[in-house]
């Protein structure tokens, strides 16, 4: 066991303090057990410092391969005859010229990112050659005007701005008229654009699918001479044996846009739950600039009608509310964000380990409990939608379910981003972040987002209650209330970036 004095000395030493180092030398020389402990502390300190900046195993392997392939030849295959050396030198020159003409040439740059971690930055130039995307989504604008949206995990090789090989992953290519003829090859298909937008997906066996989203493309298998022309809503599959088949078009399988820059000063509502108990009024104040210059207090409600507030617990920042899952919730008069307008909902949630499925609906909701008209964030309580205990974004009869099991009685930061627009769709326009990392989804419904605020039955923003639980006297209704802790609820009228979300999670503010 390390004493408090030693622990302070160790931290000072690890932080680079020379005096602490001197003080520790004597301790180490006289106490072998302490020496072992200090060595272990130092090793773990170094490993942690490294682990927090290290690239993923896949990205590292890819970087090694890139370096190896950039080498002119493997030593194992060299021959040391003079003429061979001369030939090799010539080959090296040719290879060098080839590389100078290809790999060092920029084919475009990254225009947008979502959930990719630290590997890439917007504006980063992309050279001809291999490109790997291990996590998230990246939008790349090529120098000929083609815009590619890549979904991880993706491995591709840019031959130049007019042709690429997609070895694995999903991409959507938007090709302007001046770049007609842009080509995508996969292990099982050749695709040439004829002025259009199309999606390509390649799995890890090399099998691929092509879906025409707009306009026209021509496709063939690599072994064939003849191209087939495809038009909007046509789709073809190509198996690893290069057999082509007609399949049903699935335009919503593809992410077609990423959030752009958010407003400089977004409007938002914020409930910190730190002000309760001051006046026993069972209300929680709303902070922030408001939306439409209005902020809305959250009023405690119970089925008994006595306004008893939920219990207060220690939250991620200050105090938090604990919903009992039986009869209590919070009401506001904020009508919500309607239609397909962009929005971000962020909060901390703590889900108990003994959480029961009927206690999942809903952490936060607004809109109309009718088909596609709601916006409700829950902990998934329905096996039919996906694994229980994961985050769930529902619009009524359509939903996204995440993959991280939140039932561990720990605080987790959750952010749901909808970047709006005419084509805003649950399957392609929503990003979920858990603890600052992009969440992979178990399943996504294909459904346009159209949150209904103006129907007589539409409800304003509530926390802790199922939007579909209409009649308080209906005691037979299940899935009525959420059970668990909620803290620092933020609601923005714009799509936040991952950087924003990480800042919010870390500092509980966007402006710090």
């Amino acid at each position: 066991m390390i004493s408090p004095t030693d622990s302070q000395l160790i931290e000072r030493y690890l932080a680079g303090d020379k005096n602490a180092r001197q003080a520790l030398i004597e301790r180490v020389q006289n106490d072998p057990e302490f020496k072992t402990q200090l060595a272990q502390q130092r090793d773990m300190h170094r490993l942690l410092a490294y682990a927090n900046q290290a690239s993923s195993g896949d990205a590292f392997t890819a970087a090694v391969l890139q370096s190896v392939q950039a080498e002119p030849a493997s030593a194992s295959r060299r021959r040391y005859c003079w003429w061979a050396t001369a030939c090799a030198s010539l080959l090296v020159c040719v290879v060098a010229v080839f590389y100078a003409l290809t790999t060092s040439v920029s084919v475009g740059s990254i225009s947008k990112l979502a959930g990719t971690g630290m590997d890439y930055t917007p504006g980063q130039s992309i050279s001809a050659g291999e490109f790997y995307l291990d996590a998230g989504y990246a939008e790349i604008t090529l120098i000929n005007g083609v815009v590619l949206l890549l979904e991880s995990p993706a491995r591709l090789m840019f031959e130049n701005a007019d042709r690429l090989v997609l070895r694995q992953g999903v991409l959507v290519a938007k090709v302007p008229p001046e770049a007609t003829g842009f080509a995508v090859d996969t292990p099982s298909a050749n695709i040439i654009d004829l002025g259009t937008e199309f999606g390509v997906a390649v799995d890890d066996t090399g099998a691929s699918q092509v879906h025409v989203l707009e306009g026209e493309v021509k496709v063939k298998t690599p072994g064939s001479q003849e191209y087939e022309n495809l038009y909007q809503d046509d789709a073809r599959s190509f198996d690893a044996n290069q057999q082509m088949a007609v399949i049903q078009s699935q335009p919503n399988r593809f992410m077609r846009t990423l959030p752009g820059r958010r407003y400089q000063q977004p409007q938002y509502l914020h409930w910190s739950f730190d002000d309760a108990g001051l006046d026993q009024s069972a209300t929680f104040n709303c902070a922030g600039p408001g939306i439409g210059q209005q902020c809305f207090i959250a009023q405690a409600q119970t089925l008994q009608g006595d306004n008893a507030p939920p219990a207060l617990i220690e939250g991620a920042f200050g105090e938090a509310v604990w919903f009992n899952g039986a009869d209590q919730w919070l009401d506001t008069e904020f009508p919500g964000i309607g239609g397909n307008k962009p929005r971000t909902v962020a909060f901390w949630v703590k889900v108990p380990q003994d959480f029961a499925p009927h206690q999942g609906f809903g952490i936060l909701s607004w809109g109309l409990a009718d088909k596609l008209s709601a916006w409700q964030i829950s902990i998934n309580p329905l096996n039919v939608s996906g694994p229980l205990g994961r985050i769930r974004v529902g619009t009524n009869e359509a939903e996204i379910v995440g993959t991280t099991d939140l039932r561990d009685n720990q605080w987790h930061h959750v952010a749901i981003v909808l970047f709006g627009g005419d084509r805003a769709d649950l399957s392609t326009h929503v990003l979920i972040y858990i603890d600052g990392e992009l969440e992979r989804s178990y399943g996504k419904s294909i459904a346009r987002v159209s949150t209904e605020l103006n129907h007589p039955q539409s409800k304003p923003l509530m926390m802790g209650r199922n939007l579909a639980f209409n009649d308080p006297n209906n005691s037979h209704k299940t899935n009525r209330f959420f059970r668990g802790g909620v803290d620092e609820v933020y609601l923005f009228d714009t799509a936040l970036t991952q950087q924003d979300i990480n800042k919010l999670m870390r500092t509980n503010s966007l402006t710090h």
């Binding site: 302070q8 180490v28 020389q29 090694v64 605080w411």
Partner: protein, 189 residues
Amino acid sequence: MKLATEHNANDAQRLCRWVARARGGDIKAFEYLVSQQQSRVRSYLAKRTDYSADVDDLAQESFVLAWQKLATLHDDAAFSGWVLSIAQNLLRNHHRKQARLAPTEPDLLAQLLDEQQQQHPDEQEAELSLLRQCLLKLDHPAQKTLRLYYREGYSLQELREAMGVAHSTLTMRLNRYRKKLRDCINRGY
């Protein structure tokens, strides 16, 4: 125990096959070897230097050299140890270079602790991957503390303020978290 021995023997045989293929110029085989060995090599280097930003470069260089010199490796089964020895040499050169660029007085404490490190070689484990899994097993305040300190670069003073604890509490916690992670890695997650 018998099963474990057989399993290890199978792994070793498999590794030898991939090394032989890579020596024949099969780049996919070498890619597989890198993916299997990278965590071990990077952990080895990371634990032996305070220049964590240089670890990936050194590890990458180790594998590139291994690819170039693969013909000189006579015992395929020794591939893992051989790559580590390449990494060790590169690291030694790197430290010499750093010492020339920024000369400092000899660090006696570091030398004493390095002796300790050599007495207990535990490079059989891919500690980096295990560490990532073990971090997830810590409770939320521990994860938060380590994230702020190591990822966000908080100083001890900033960290103390962010976590709202006394200095000695914070240093004791950091010591404890590292110990927990070490135990978790030793258990194999």
